[in-house]
Amino acid sequence: MSLLSLTAVELGKKIKSHEVSVAAAATAVMDSIEKKDAELNCFITKLDRDAVLKRAEEVQKAIDAGELTGPLAGVPVAIKDNMNTKGVLTTAASKILGNFVPTFSSEAVVNLEKAGCIIVGKTNMDEFAMGSTTETSHFGATKNPWDTNKVPGGSSGGSAAAVAAGEVPFALGSDTGGSIRQPSGYCGVTGMKPTYGTVSRYGLIAYGSSLDQIGPIAKDVTDVATILETIASHDPKDSTSVKREDYDFTSALVDDVKGMKIGIPRDYLGEGIEPEVKDAILAAAKKLEAKGAIVEEFDLSLVEYAIPAYYLIACAEASSNLERFDGVKYGYRTESYEELHQMYKKTRSEGFGAEVKRRIMLGSFILSSGYYDAYYLKALRTKAMIKKAFDEAFAKYDVILGPVAPTTAPELGSSLSDPLKMYLSDIYTISVNLAGLPGICLPCGYDNAGMPIGLQLIANNFDDKKVIRAAYSFEQSREETRESQYLASED
């Protein structure tokens, strides 16, 4: 069995037992990236081989000296390119940051490095995480390893595809409206957005600050819980970071859902959902029911308001967050200009892609005087009502179960022509961000074309462990887990 088929935790065990050296693991991963990425385009930046091997050597020494004993010590990882990595190009997939090298690393990255992980590269994404297909990247689209004519989802498409293709054992993603869960679903891997405030946002290039959250993308639930345990921390540098009492997420890796109350929102299985997706979700629910969970359908109200509320809030925040990219201090600056305002205008016109400009304009309009109350405040009120609807649901259910997206991965190029259609594909994931909830996506089946179908499990704020437990239990009884052609070819 190839090293590349191992989960992160399995690989970590082999490194710990000296069955595999840190350098060998890193080399296998870098070779795999070298071999596959020309076609898949999962990476914007691949780290220098010598630098990676030097770091591998240091980590090996620390492991041998008994200083690094964690489950991920020596395991290679890829980081979504909207997370700062000190001294390594960080572009957020935008031309405007095409030359930006940060002076500090994201807290989540620092936590991985402390645990002995080896960063091998920065993954492709939708520009500034704005998109659901990884096609808005300035560096070209990433392709889905299950079918290279299809999108990997987005915005963390590079991370999800890299894991699915066996280019890296695991990766970090960020999720503002489904950007970890939806690409995980499209790529047949497991990804989790924890409760807002669980992972520090320090060093994450902000899109929608009140919605953004970093999380893991990996091969299975055990990996996801282990990685989350590693990256989660209370960070005084992020005022929205929460001090939790339960960072021991792996303690929820228990195959037991007896008595667990699971609700399926009827609205999630209604209009627009592909029958194959619906069938796979209901089959997954049956599995959990068979293991002793109490499963029932219910009406989660306000589902149709989630998308408008999300785009109003996220775009408003984004329009402000992206103001700092102006050509003055760092990043791209237009080549010729007469005076300050022309410099701003040309820099930003040339530096941002179409989708980012669309969202900046939408956000600026929403916040402009005379519209603030009608749009932004109304969206905030809607957000509060959506949270309340979830509160009511979680008074009855431990976990909400549903699809991650209405369809499996669409064809490349089919979404960009119709942005509204792309926005609608986020319908099941977005409300989770609006309410700050933890949500996980894991594969639960395959459509007739062999594309993976993602199951989403959601719990109340700070009930991340319920999500992990339900997902782990389902995973234990999952009948079939396939590998993408790129990964299968390794075995």
Binding site: N84, R201, D238, E317, S319, S320, R324, F325, K329
Partner: protein, 476 residues
């Protein structure tokens, strides 16, 4: 001609005296090399996040409590969006929707008349960096050392009617804030800045006229001139049948004229919205009580006490308490030497002169009050005479020297030795027969010259009282 009334409201920005910036740990110290007091947060680096400095909230609360404001139990920051290179994020973190203090007032006194000036609100915000033009490269450079320095903006109601009231209000704010230690409030250095909103209306009218906002005044005198100038300009327009245009104007104190900067039509839309990176600030009763408990004795109370306890005249008490630093020196020196009157004299005469000569803010005095007390003890003990004392005080004021050592080292001790004095006086009499003659002919003033000559001969150290006595005795 019609009679006009001026209606004035002020927006006062005060730089708070915290050691570190409002949202990061960088130093607020003035005068570092460009971009040395900076970090990813205050230069707007991608991925950086603000963390609120609690001391800023305490200072804002303290100013709010001292100006009779209501303190919000929950307040929030908002983003004010506008593009300018000195603003690294292109938004300023400020407060619009839920400011920390609202609905306050202060009492001012002008020509014996007391009046309340309402305070609409006080909010917290961050300062911007500074643009520096490089004439050699024909380029503008940005220094972010000031970026993120904490400010409060105190917005008054339009309650003032004259420049005297405006100055009295500003002085009231300045001493109050200085007493709290929340800021040094220096207009010249920009740690206190006042924008004047002014309109005129016919006396008796209950409607407000159209107002303008005047910026860029760096002294109380400039503010008074700007008010007089803007009042005259608006009245002239109205008399000519022209409307006053709502606009922001920049005062040029050298030209004694103002110039339009921007009108309401091209006013920016700041697209304010709640800052998502900072949770609301919850202020408990306990926190308010703690801040209240730390409140110092303010100027009015001190003035009254100085008159009652030390017998200072109201005028002297007023001057000394107009600066917190001066009042601190007064109290510390008095506590040591026990002679309030003499300390007051040094502050009222010598100190005021030295401050004026050096064009110095009293808040910048840095000598040890103990050294003033020692100096007074030397005078009281007759160890030095008053002219030497003035000379030594100048060194205390400027270099914070120890007067005992200084007098010792420079041999400035007063000569009280009658023998030595007598022989010098005799010599002076012998050398100045004309003055002796004048004195004996009834020109009593001539004795002053002879005293002066004796002092000169003894390098200023002679005991002037004794010299006088000996002279009178010898000239009888």
């Amino acid at each position: 001609m019609k009679q006009y009334e001026t209606v004035i409201g002020l927006e006062v920005h005060v730089e708070l005296a915290t050691k570190t910036k409002i949202f990061c740990g960088c130093s607020t110290a003035f005068g570092g090399a460009p971009n040395t007091h900076t970090c990813p947060v205050c230069t707007g680096m991608p991925g950086s996040l603000p963390v609120l400095n609690k001391q800023v909230v305490e200072y804002a609360m303290a100013v709010g409590l001292a100006t009779n404001c209501d303190i919000a139990r929950e307040c929030k920051f908002d983003r004010k969006n506008y593009f300018y290179p000195d603003n690294p994020q292109n938004y300023q973190i400020s407060q619009l929707y839920k400011p920390i203090c609202t609905n306050g007032h202060v009492e001012i006194e002008v020509n014996g008349n007391k009046k309340q000036i309402g305070i609409h609100e006080i909010h917290m915000e961050e300062d911007a960096g500074k643009l520096v033009h490089d004439p050699w490269e024909d380029a503008s450079l940005v220094d972010y050392n000031r970026s993120g320095v904490p400010l409060i903006e105190i917005v008054s109601e339009p309650d003032m009617r004259s420049s005297e009231e405006v100055i009295a209000y500003l002085e009231k704010l300045r001493t109050t804030i200085q007493y709290l230690g929340a800021s040094d409030c220096k207009l010249q250095e920009g740690s206190m800045r006042a924008d004047v909103n002014l309109s005129v209306r016919e006396v008796g009218s209950s409607e407000f006229g159209t107002r303008t906002e005047m910026k860029n005044m760096s002294s109380f005198k400039a503010i008074a001139r700007a008010i007089a100038g803007e009042r005259a300009r608006q009245i002239e327009r109205l008399e000519d049948g022209l409307p006053v245009i709502q606009e922001t104007r920049r005062w040029d104190d050298n030209k004694e004229a103002s110039f339009a900067m921007r009108s309401k039509e091209d006013a920016q839309d700041y697209r304010y919205f709640p800052e998502p990176d900072l949770p609301p600030i919850v202020i408990s009763d306990e926190w308010i009580d703690n801040v209240k408990a730390k409140e110092p004795e303010f100027k009015d109370a001190k003035m009254a006490r100085y008159q009652a306890d030390f017998g200072l005249p109201a005028y002297d008490a007023d001057i000394i308490t107009s600066s917190k630093k001066m009042a601190d020196i007064f109290e510390a020196a008095t506590a040591i030497c026990g002679d309030a009157k003499k300390v007051s004299n040094f502050l009222m005469v010598d100190t005021m002169r030295l401050l004026k000569d050096a064009e110095m803010d009293p808040e910048d005095m840095s000598f040890d009050p103990e050294n003033l007390a020692k100096l007074i003890k030397l005078v009281v003990a007759g160890a030095i005479n008053s002219s030497v004392a003035s000379e030594v005080y100048e060194h205390v004021f400027k270099e914070n020297i120890d007067p005992e050592k200084y007098v010792e080292e420079h041999g400035l001790k007063q000569v009280n030795d009658e023998g030595a004095l007598r022989s010098t006086v005799e010599q002076v009499i012998a050398e100045n027969p004309q003055s002796v003659e004048d004195y004996k002919n009834g020109k009593t003033k001539a004795i002053g010259f002879l005293v002066g000559q004796t002092m000169k001969a003894m390098k200023g150290k002679a005991n002037p009282g004794m010299v006088n006595e000996i002279l009178q005795e010898l000239l009888k």
